[in-house]
Symmetry: C2
Subunit: 332 residues, 2 copies
Amino acid sequence: MGGKNMHILIIGAAGMVGRKLTERLVADGRLGDAELSVLTLVDVIDPPVPDGFAGEVRTVAADVSSPGEAGSLIASRPDVVFHLAAIVSGEAEADFDKGYRINLDGTRFLFDAIRLEGVKAPYKPRVVFSSSIAVFGAPFPEKIGDEFFLTPLTSYGTQKAMGELLLADYSRRGFFDGIGIRLPTICIRPGKPNKAASGFFSNILREPLVGQEAVLPVGEDVRHWHASPRSAVGFLLRAATMDLEPLGWRRNLSMPGLSATVGEQIEALRKVAGDKAVKLIRHEPDPFIIKMVGGWARDFDTGRAESLGFQAEKSFEEIIRAHMEDELGREV
Amino acid sequence: MGGKNMHILIIGAAGMVGRKLTERLVADGRLGDAELSVLTLVDVIDPPVPDGFAGEVRTVAADVSSPGEAGSLIASRPDVVFHLAAIVSGEAEADFDKGYRINLDGTRFLFDAIRLEGVKAPYKPRVVFSSSIAVFGAPFPEKIGDEFFLTPLTSYGTQKAMGELLLADYSRRGFFDGIGIRLPTICIRPGKPNKAASGFFSNILREPLVGQEAVLPVGEDVRHWHASPRSAVGFLLRAATMDLEPLGWRRNLSMPGLSATVGEQIEALRKVAGDKAVKLIRHEPDPFIIKMVGGWARDFDTGRAESLGFQAEKSFEEIIRAHMEDELGREV
């Protein structure tokens, strides 16, 4: 095995998931049976060059929503394309034009660049598209099943749902071999506290683990859907390597995750880091965030993804321990 | 009532449904409480000028998928916009670029033209978008419910599903007051037999009713989902006048229809027109059409649309009688 040399293109490589994916690919040096020879990292800002990669690394500052950019990237005919680039929910809501340009047009330009490259000479890469649970909008059942309809309540969710439809159609037409995966909320997000409305789910664990205070703006009974950055990378690698035949033309899947209340998150923190850590969580209810979170998905039935081998954490302790190992260099 | 003068814009006015809608609007001279003062009829070819309309009729040959065209049409600020324009399933499958240009870009240009008109001065028309049951793709349950997910198996169905998402998002953002309605297969389609794979559902009734032979390419046990042209117009008028508040942001609805087998169609023909008519149906199985039809929706649960006052025929005899009254000038 391992004879094949593989070229991987990551669009959105400077984002959190993109960086985690890059780290993992560099550490593995391979994807499935194939050795990595070229890693092309693209983002609107020059992505960081990873250390320790035996093959060739190309970093490119490019915006795939600018006409022509996607075509240049695809001209080198990568074997696998990870499309992780997007502007986030808040920004897509605040700037309508930018949201549609980056999240919809960018995706379509990329998919079309692949289609048109295939007109020059046969070309059918694997395309892995990161979608989001934002494609779902309340009201929904307590557990959202694999056949529940998509009724996004944000422009971001709308753009992701449209990307999913394009991906399925372009796959069906044979232009590429695509799979879209709907990531749960990533927890614990590494880095500094951010202003995202969902940031507190990570903040209330990450900050106390290093002796810092964190603000909890909602009640402890709030239930949400989580997976660790490590699981997210695992999903992407599985999506890039698995046989897609069993999916038929239903190429978009809700990924497994862990449904947990904030109270359960806090109890897991207590088990791992003690009462001292829990005392660093300051309760400061924020009516605006409470209202937003009320419309978010709480739980999923992801039987389809699980039957296809996708796996996430089973407890919040596992999620916290993964963070400590991956980010804090502590064995737990 | 009736003080308000209304301007209605129909895009796709030369198509079968567009012509039926125009006829009905001209006959009524009003929409809901409002008198019609202007009727703008748009299609890629100049639509026919209807007779007997008291107000002003404008016919325009325009393609909303050409940049700028939609803006010109919307500059006159119609109160209601019916967006019925599309290239059909077979053509969108045969010509990939054309399908996305007309069915996706055309819809987006139109919606954006309305959004941008609203930037000049407040403007929020009613937008009625004709979608299709082609947004659903097999496998599906025997009855497709209101919350079943959209997995189109054609580029046409993909483009309609993307249009639905845009419509919901633009409505949520307050750019217009939109509703998308998924029409059943229209039966009996007036006119000549056409080459559409679904044409036989109409042909086997329409032709024998006027003493002509028709070919049945599938078995009598094939079940499908139908509504008359008269019902389709009724759906459009209801969508244009109803209060949309009860829909929330779930602005796309499967319309009611009649689920019937080909055998049931034939028995209805026998009741209305006798054995002589039925004998004009020639059974010529076509493996290609049999395979296609196997992937089509057979039945729906349209409780949501029904609770909102949408109604279709309850028997195929009703559908046949509607055709005879509307097309053949025969009272039954």
